[in-house]
């Protein structure tokens, strides 16, 4: 027997206490949706988990109304100290139910339990913990003398880090004094609904947080709702564009966290072993379904062969399989739709003349899977060097000089993140200066902390989440133009075609 074929080490589902059917969470309670309900499945084996309500326009209306009532009557009148106490309670409850939440997240999203347990859920608790402390310290945030909340925030989140994206949205919004209507992604509603139960355990006043499950239409309705003061969206650049157009001319404040095609730059004097780990983390963590994934390896030509060889050897130890097995490194792709997109772009990579190499993994019969893949001989003009694949596919390009590395890294409409690997401190800092990216990781990758601002340049969106900067999105007086009188639109707003 090969030791490396570790015996199954499954995390038990017994800790879960799921309902067969979930309603919408509005005004502190669950209620049926009036849209057509749908089913959420486990992408690892395509089995049904639960039936999920869909929020119609009327439901979204009710949710926004509940958020507005809660804002006017309760939340805006509450002291920062008390808002903070609620957030501390939520943080502690997340910690208490951490294991349960991790299992539910892996089940619904497909990511390995190792990641949901060790990364996602701890960061969720940390995010609430961090922002809890800001609630009664807004005067110190450097965002104006008397920062006030915006009102009701409409928030739409993606499927790649369901509970973590929920935390990134709700924690600062509540700390700043806003109330919230949040729409989870269609394929990953489960942990948001468990979170709603946690809100009940925390005794959060009804209407402060409302969760409306549904598909794209629900999200579109929410962000365009006239009584929503603030829109926050994380997702694709394509949808982000539509939202930006939809709010034009309105008073709505908007922040967008969109796609990326990050360059992971490896200089010849990099700490090679750790750089290999960083490349692997960069593109294969969460199956590459990460906006800030290091999806382009930009490696100094002199060490290209050695790096690619070591990378391939390293990938041979990655284990693909059941997300609930504690030894799984690579889980399932979140949906068939996403899997098809990854396959299609990889096919394009083949056509463009790049050389494909795939790790030797046993693919299960059912479920949505894509083995870790590397494309070498990729050029800047290739689509697989420009389009966000959002899967476990790495494109490898080379450079000769620091200037060239920076130019290639910046040569993209995106600008979310970048990696720099070198032992030379002065080079790290100079390269970081020149990279047009909102997050630069030097000699590390994919590190997140609630105190560290995250967000993009250019088409990766605008606004920051995390840190003192993350409060700005949810406070009046924190952004330019707040005090200016709204200029009347000179002509009627034309309908923008989809």
């Amino acid at each position: 027997m090969s030791f490396l074929e570790y015996a199954p080490a499954p995390e038990s589902r017994a800790i879960l206490n799921l309902r067969d059917e979930y309603g919408l969470f509005i005004d502190g309670d669950f209620r049926p949706g009036t849209g057509e309900s749908f089913v959420t499945i486990s992408p690892a084996d395509e089995t049904r988990i639960a039936t999920i309500a869909s929020a119609s326009e009327a439901d979204v209306d009710a949710a926004v109304a509940a958020a507005r009532r809660a804002y006017d009557k309760t939340w805006s009148k509450m002291s920062g100290r008390d808002r903070g106490k609620y957030l501390f309670r939520i943080a502690r409850l997340v910690q208490e139910r951490a294991r349960e939440l991790a299992v539910a997240e892996s089940l619904d999203n497909g990511k390995p339990i190792k990641e949901s347990r060790d990364v996602d859920v701890p960061l969720v608790a940390a995010w609430f913990f961090y922002y809890a402390g800001w609630a009664d310290k807004l005067d110190y945030a450097g965002l104006g003398a008397d920062p006030r909340p915006l009102g009701v925030a409409g928030q739409v989140i993606p499927w790649n880090f369901p509970l973590l994206m929920l935390a990134w949205k709700i924690a600062p919004a509540l700390a700043a004094g806003n109330t919230v209507v949040l729409k989870p992604a269609e394929t990953t509603p489960l942990t948001a609904l468990l979170f709603a139960e946690i809100l009940q355990q925390a005794d959060l006043p009804p209407g402060v947080v409302n969760i409306v499950t549904g598909a794209g239409a629900t999200g579109a309705t929410l962000v365009r709702h006239p009584d929503v003061d603030k829109v926050a969206f994380t997702g694709s650049t394509a949808v982000g564009r539509e939202i930006a157009k939809a709010v034009a001319g309105t008073d709505k404040k908007v922040t967008l966290e969109l796609g990326g095609k990050a360059a992971n730059i490896i200089f010849e004097d990099a700490p090679i072993e750790q750089a290999i780990d960083g490349i692997v983390t960069g593109i294969f963590f969460n199956q590459g379904q990460v906006c800030c994934a290091g999806s382009r390896l930009v490696v100094q030509e002199s060490i290209h062969d050695e790096v690619v060889d070591r990378l391939k050897a390293r990938l041979s130890t990655l284990r693909l399989g059941d997300p609930l097995d504690k030894n799984t490194d690579i889980g399932a792709i979140n949906s068939l739709e996403q899997l098809n997109r990854v396959r299609e772009l990889s096919r394009i990579g083949d056509e463009e003349g790049a050389e494909r190499w795939t790790a030797d993994c046993v693919i299960p019969d059912k479920g949505f899977w894509f083995a870790p893949t590397i494309f070498t001989n990729v050029q800047s003009s290739h689509r697989i060097a420009r389009d966000e694949i959002f899967g476990p596919v790495l494109s490898v390009l080379t450079f000769r000089t620091p200037d060239e590395a920076i130019a290639k890294a910046n040569n993209t409409p995106y600008g979310l993140s970048a990696g720099v690997w070198t032992e030379k401190g002065s080079r790290i800092l100079a390269v970081a200066d020149k990279l047009r990216a909102g997050v630069v990781w030097a000699n590390t990758f994919n590190r997140f902390d609630p105190s560290s601002p995250f967000g993009g340049y250019k088409e990766s969106g605008y606004g920051r989440e995390g840190g003192r900067h993350g409060l700005a999105a949810y406070l009046k007086g924190a952004s330019a133009g707040d005090a200016a009188r709204r200029v009347e639109a000179g002509r009627s707003k034309k309908e923008v075609s989809a």
Partner: protein
């Protein structure tokens, strides 16, 4: 067991170094190796530590750990009686279970070697073939602070008494002062002192004392240096200094032997020693060996644990797997 042929050593080193192994040449070579990012290294070690080894894998792992232990006593108060007791434990770790495998070796001070060999009797032999070998610490263990003549005499003595393996210490003072040529020379000369009259060699483990070298860059350089100079094994610690073996340090050393194999086709062993007390920890090391160097390193001639109290913890775990309930200290014997 295998020992690197001393005849080809200087040529191999000169070839790889591009010159004689003096301070300057060695410095250029060792400081030209890629650096180690400590945070990243420790993160990787922590990740490997999350592997969940259960049921059949765990049972296999526990037996394998026992088979890779150098059961050790290195106390000033050691006596022939203590050594006999250790050997008895080495041959029959679990008094209640004769199916329990034997350890790989016993590790004692040089002057205790004759008693160990006598106590082993017919069981004395190559652990790759089911025997138990005798490893002796030498070269003014643990400090290494003595003249080269003394260290060579210490080594030759142990070899003459029948030690199969020599665990030497490097001169850490010289290493930290940048006198790489001296460190190299001492290792090469100790390797020569491992030569027996019949032309075979005792296997040489080179203890780096990583706790004193402190930085990972130093440990990486010392590892390469020890291998270039002819070591068959690189070993983390004497066990007399804290910190002794750690998972990140061992991971780093496994990366070095892996890269040495890629470069030369030769396999060098790794021995973490000191501080590994629980089965849980020992299993993490097994995982690290398998995922970094490869499963073929999980053999007595390529990997050992320098340990004493680890054995009993492994036996308790082994008993639990067999009986289905927790075991206790009264059910394992003292060595």
């Amino acid at each position: 067991m295998s020992g690197t042929s001393i005849v080809t050593l200087p040529e191999r080193a000169v070839e790889l170094l591009g010159g004689q192994p003096d301070d300057t040449t060695l410095r250029r070579y060792l400081h030209g190796l890629p650096g180690v990012d400590a945070v990243g290294l420790e993160q990787r070690a922590a990740d490997l530590g999350t592997r969940s080894i259960k049921t059949t894998s765990k049972a296999w792992a526990l037996d394998k750990i026992i088979e890779l232990i150098d059961l050790t006593t290195l106390e000033g108060a050691d006596t022939p009686g203590k050594v006999r007791s250790l050997v008895a434990k080495a041959l029959n770790p679990d008094a209640s279970d004769p199916t329990c495998p034997r350890v790989a070796a016993v590790c004692v001070y040089g002057d205790m070697v004759p008693y160990a060999i006598e106590a082993l009797g017919a069981a004395h032999g190559d652990p790759d073939e089911g025997g138990v070998s005798v490893a002796a610490v030498a070269t003014a263990f643990p400090s290494g602070r003595a003249s080269l003549e003394i260290k060579l005499a210490d080594t030759a003595d142990a070899v003459a008494h029948g030690a199969d393996e020599i665990d030497m210490v490097i001169d850490r003072g010289a290493f930290l002062a940048g006198r790489y040529g001296l460190v190299f020379d001492q290792i090469a000369r100790v390797k020569q002192a491992c030569r027996r009259e019949d032309g075979t060699y005792a296997s040489l483990k080179v203890i780096l004392e990583t706790g004193e070298l402190t930085t990972y860059d130093n440990i990486k350089r010392a590892s390469w240096l020890a291998i270039l100079a002819g070591g068959d094994f690189i070993k983390t610690s004497t066990g007399k200094v804290q910190p002794a073996a750690t998972l990140p340090v061992t991971l780093l050393m496994l990366e070095v032997v892996r890269d040495w194999y890629r470069a030369t086709g030769e396999k060098v062993g790794v021995k973490p020693a000191g501080g590994i007390r629980t089965s849980k920890d020992a299993i993490k090391y097994l995982v690290t060996v398998a995922e970094i160097a490869g499963e073929e390193w999980l053999q007595p001639h390529l990997f050992r644990y320098g340990a004493s109290s680890l054995l009993n913890d492994v036996l308790l775990q082994r008993q639990k797997l067999k009986t289905g309930h927790y075991s206790g200290a009264d059910y394992v014997t003292i060595d």
